[in-house]
Structures are given as structure tokens and as C-alpha cells.
Symmetry: C2
């Protein structure tokens, strides 16, 4: 059973996932599994846990071929449990049982295809799976937050990361992470002062100046954030204020698929298929429960997707200060991305 441990001073949580590896040497990344053994490919459905969601051709049975998108529980879940959540103290320390869900969203049945190479209709399918699983996990009253993310070309050393097959992950957890709480608290404090969403204000300023714009369509706006922590970091925002990704309308899936394909394609062309993380920032599940301290989130928060190429690596300075070093100003990054075709 993984364990959540809280630092008694700063308050960050760590997941101690003891079942993954207890010995130092097994931390070394394993070599990539060849395509011939990939359990995420069409035809090897029996090698994964049973599917929780799939977009399938009419009549194809579950856990067999015939799908475009397929979701199942991770084989080595980071968090997992069906039980109630055990919380206790050990002197000055706080511990919580690592209850949660960890699902894998396989974006394509084909092994060597990346999400930005899929058709708009196929990407719409992936996005609809995001929305469906994000909302399904909200039904479990134990979970306060879910992170939806994608690691592309990133080696983490965890056993689940050795496969190339294009996929995203969603991890539901019994806490709202400190980083997320901070973002929500700041957005709330801005709204309290000004009666405006801080992100709507940012979008207005960016759209007026245009110097950090990467791409835009009728529903979404993509730009390099002013204080980008990594070179070519790009944020994709819905133009209409909305705090909850789970309420994304199916009529918006097409325009989100188009801008995502465009942004990821530009990165691939400009930087020669760089490793990147895609991270969803959205309101925690708690606000759905109408808890008093969370009920203002609807008006003061704004969901968005963060795309962060991983071209630099953090070292002592970044770890010690939390300040990142970005060698490429957002204006230069955005101009290069604007001028680059997406394929």
C-alpha cells in the first residue's frame, strides 16, 4: 500500500510507493520495451487490467480489438485502494494511506503515433475520454482532486514510463495538493479585491498585446506565459470563463482538439520532437460538494492546459529557491512558435 507522508514544516506531501521498488538499484530506468511486446497496442488487450472506458467500432466487444481510445487502471498504480482513508500522526509527522485511482488513457491503437499526428476527430475522441473519466472519478466521495497529465518522451525511471505508446494518465487523490491550493487561494484573493477572474484579466492583456500569442481560434487562446518556467511553455485557455474542465461541452471538443494539435505540432517542428508534459489545471472535486470554503471557485478560477517542453533540467538553484531559469523570453518563444508551421 503506498503511503502519503507530509513534511511537518513546509507541508508538502510525498508519495512513498514502497511496492514499486525498495532497493536502490532498481531505480535505474529500464530499456524501452519493443513494440512487439507493448501491452497498449491493439490486439494485446488481455495484457492490461479490464477496460473502464473505450471508444469502439459498433459491435466490437470490450477488452478486444476495434477501439480508438481505451482506458484502464494502471498495472503499477501510484495510488490505489478501495478502503476508507486511514489518517494518523507519528509524533510531529502526518501520514495518510495512499488511497486513490490511477488510470491510463491510451490515445491510439497504433504504437508509433503521437497525439498531434492523430486526426482532429481522433483527438476529439481522446478529449472526450478525458472528460468522461474526470467526471466518473468525481463520483467517488473519497477523492478531492484528480490530476490529468501526459508525459511525452520523458524518462522518469518509474516502471510505467518505459513504454513509448502514446497515452495520458489521470490520478485521483484524497487531498488537494498544496500547489493547487495556492493557485486557487491566489485566484480567490484577486477576485475578492477586483471582482474579476485573474485569468480573464491575463487573457485580455495577452490578447491586446499579442506579443506572446501562439495560436487562437473561436473558443480557445494559446500563449507563452509571461513568467514561463521552461522555454516554450504554452498555456491553452478557454476564452469563455469556466472553472471546471469536467463541464467542457461536446461542442467545444473540436476547437480544443484543433488548437492542441496546432500547439503540439509547432513544438515538434521547431524543437525536433522535444520531451514535454501536458498538465490540466482545473477546479478540485470539492467544489462540487458545495463546501462553504470552495463555493466561490466557479467565479474565481479558470481551467487551462499547460504544455511544458522539458529542455532544461532543474538543479540546486531551482530546488533551493523554487525559482526557475528560462533562457528564452516568452515573447521570443511565442514569435518562433507563431512563425513555425504545425506540420
Amino acid at each position: 500500500m503506498p503511503e502519503l507522508r507530509r513534511d511537518p514544516v513546509i507541508g508538502y506531501w510525498t508519495i512513498v510507493s514502497t511496492e514499486r521498488s525498495r532497493r536502490p538499484l532498481s531505480i535505474t530506468p529500464k530499456p524501452q520495451a519493443p513494440a512487439a511486446q507493448c501491452p497498449f497496442c491493439e490486439g494485446r488487450e488481455s495484457q492490461t487490467t479490464p477496460e473502464l472506458f473505450a471508444l469502439r467500432s459498433p459491435g466490437s466487444p470490450a477488452n478486444g480489438p476495434g477501439w480508438n481510445v481505451r482506458v484502464f487502471t494502471a498495472k503499477n498504480p501510484l495510488l490505489e485502494s478501495d478502503s476508507q482513508i486511514d489518517r494518523y500522526g507519528e509524533g510531529v509527522y502526518d501520514v495518510m494511506e495512499g488511497a486513490g485511482r490511477h488510470e491510463v488513457i491510451v490515445e491510439t491503437p497504433r504504437h508509433d503515433t503521437d497525439i498531434d499526428s492523430l486526426s482532429i476527430a481522433e483527438i476529439e475522441g481522446v478529449l472526450s475520454a478525458y472528460v468522461a473519466r474526470f467526471n466518473a472519478l468525481a463520483e467517488d466521495h473519497r477523492f478531492k482532486y484528480a490530476l490529468l497529465f501526459k508525459n511525452h518522451g520523458v524518462t522518469t525511471g518509474a516502471p510505467s514510463q518505459v513504454l513509448r505508446h502514446s497515452r495520458s494518465q489521470i490520478i485521483a487523490m484524497p487531498i488537494v495538493p498544496k500547489r493547487v491550493k495556492e493557485e486557487l487561494a491566489s485566484a480567490k484573493s484577486y477576485f475578492d479585491r477586483r471582482d474579476r477572474c485573474v485569468y480573464c484579466d491575463i487573457l485580455r492583456q495577452e490578447s491586446r498585446s499579442g506579443q506572446r500569442t501562439v495560436a487562437e481560434n473561436e473558443d480557445f487562446y494559446a500563449f507563452c506565459p509571461f513568467a514561463a518556467r521552461s522555454p516554450f511553455e504554452t498555456w491553452v485557455f478557454p476564452k469563455t470563463h469556466s472553472a471546471d474542465f469536467g463541464r467542457l461541452q461536446s461542442s467545444d471538443l473540436g476547437s480544443l482538439a484543433r488548437i492542441l494539435k496546432q500547439c503540439l505540432g509547432k513544438l515538434r517542428v521547431l524543437l525536433d520532437d522535444p520531451p514535454y508534459n501536458l498538465i490540466l489545471h482545473t477546479a478540485p472535486y470539492r467544489h462540487k460538494k458545495r463546501e462553504t470554503s470552495w463555493k466561490t471557485i466557479e467565479e474565481d478560477y479558470h481551467w487551462y492546459l499547460q504544455i511544458s517542453p522539458r529542455l532544461t533540467r532543474s538543479a540546486g538553484f531551482e530546488w533551493g529557491t523554487g525559482i526557475h531559469i528560462n533562457p528564452t523570453p516568452a515573447e521570443d518563444a511565442a514569435q518562433l512558435l507563431r512563425e513555425t508551421p504545425s506540420e
Copy 2:
């Protein structure tokens, strides 16, 4: 001129160091310079900026051979300026001129030696250089904080990181980073509630249980922190309460040198010379100025050294939540380190 930019929501600062590289392709790490060209080696003193501090054999002139430890300004400083600090807003954004100092502390005249292979007396020399430069930079009224750190075997992609020669860095800056403020605020809030230093309480609990102890001597105590964010993370604390590394007595240098050599040596033997960061956590310069809101730091904060091997790599989950995944519980890591000889 580098620029500090603040994210308008969460409030983190980013250093946009435009002079290092404006083009995407120059981000790729350069190959290591061969020893024959290393500007940090004895005999090549003219290739660095003029020395600010050195431990030299009697009679040897500055900026020539004959030293054990040598400090100078970095050739590509992250922050640098002699001017007053310009601060301004750009709509919702905050910008500050990247004023600061960035110094390199070369720990040995020999190219292929690491700090833990030096003699105790030589490591004492390095530590005395740390204290001297930390206190010298405090004299500049523009600086509120300095981070002292060391990257060992870590590739960051920055041009200053391509050399192997063993060294530390100290960067003085015009802000107290958000991460540091959080740590100080939490320590203060603990003290306000209990009239005890939180770190003294942690040390007492760790020393009683002993299960996370790595090493110990008369003045210092080293252990793996309960919520360690990376496998084999180790913290080294002075046993006697002290908030300010700058007040380290010369009588304590020997015992600090001994425990540091021991901890780093154990890591090298157990994990085959892993990359690591060494980070100093200490009170900001502000408290010296007796500003009201900082004057309690003397009693509620406690300086320490953090040693973090970099065996895993952060990806989408860590970036999105701030929660790190540690496959090796602190108790297991500490036991392995305790049982490992330091050479």
C-alpha cells in the same frame, strides 16, 4: 541584463536570463570540456574573473597558483548588477531587474577530485570559504537572501555546468524566494503555537527513534527526512539551535567537515557516485537588519544542509501537483546508508 518576472497568480519568480541564449538550439547541453582546458584548475587563474577570496600558501600572490580554495564571480552570472534595483509593473505582471551576485567557490586545485575525497582539513577550508562569502554578500544592502548550493554530476544545460571541476556556487538575490518564505512562515507558526523550534522537535524525535539516522557526531546529526522527496535525501543539522549559517563558529568547522565527508562518501559507495545537489537552508539576510517581521527568526528557524541524490526525474505528476514520488522509504534509505562505509 537578466530579468525577474513574477507569475501573477501563484507568485513564483522566474529568471529570464536572456543573455545566456535566445535561440532554442543552444539549450542543448554542451559536451564536457576536457581537463586540459578547465579554467578552474591551478595554473589557469587568468581565465577566471579576479579572485574575491582564496586560501593560499603563505606568500603566493592573488590570481596565481598556490591555493586550496578559490572564489570568483561566475563568467556567465545568473544575476548581476551594480545598480539600484529597478522594479515595475506591466499590466497584471511584475518585473524586477535581475540584480545580484553569482560566485563560484572552487573547492580544490585538482581537476578530478570530489569534495568528499578531500581531507578533513581541506573540507574545513571549503566550509570556511562558504561562511566568509555568505557573510561578505550580506553587507550589500540590496540583497535579501543568498543561496549556497552545489551540483554534483548534474547536467542542467546551462553553459556554466559543463565542467567537471568540483565547486559550489553562491547566488545573492534581491528577493526572499517564495519557497524560503513558506519554510520560515511555517517554522514561525509552529513556534508561536508551541514556543519550540519545529526543527529542534524533529531532531529530538529522530534521535529518539534512530530509525532514520545516517550519521552523528558531537555537533551535527544527519538523517533521512520522513517525507523525503528523493530517494536517499539526507539532512545535516547542527545539534545546537542556530538560525544563521553565517554565525557558524570556526570550532564547528571540523565536525561539519567530518559528517559531510561521511554522508557524501556513503552515497558514493552505496549508489556508485550518483548525481546530487547540496543546498543550504538558512535565515535570509533580512533578519540581520532587525526588520520587525523578521526578528523572531533567531528563535524559530534552524539552518541545515540538504543533500538530494537525483536518481528519479520529475514528470507531469510532480509538476502538476508538487507531490514527489519516492520509491525508497526514508527508514530503508537510512538503514542502507548507515550500513555502508564512507569509503
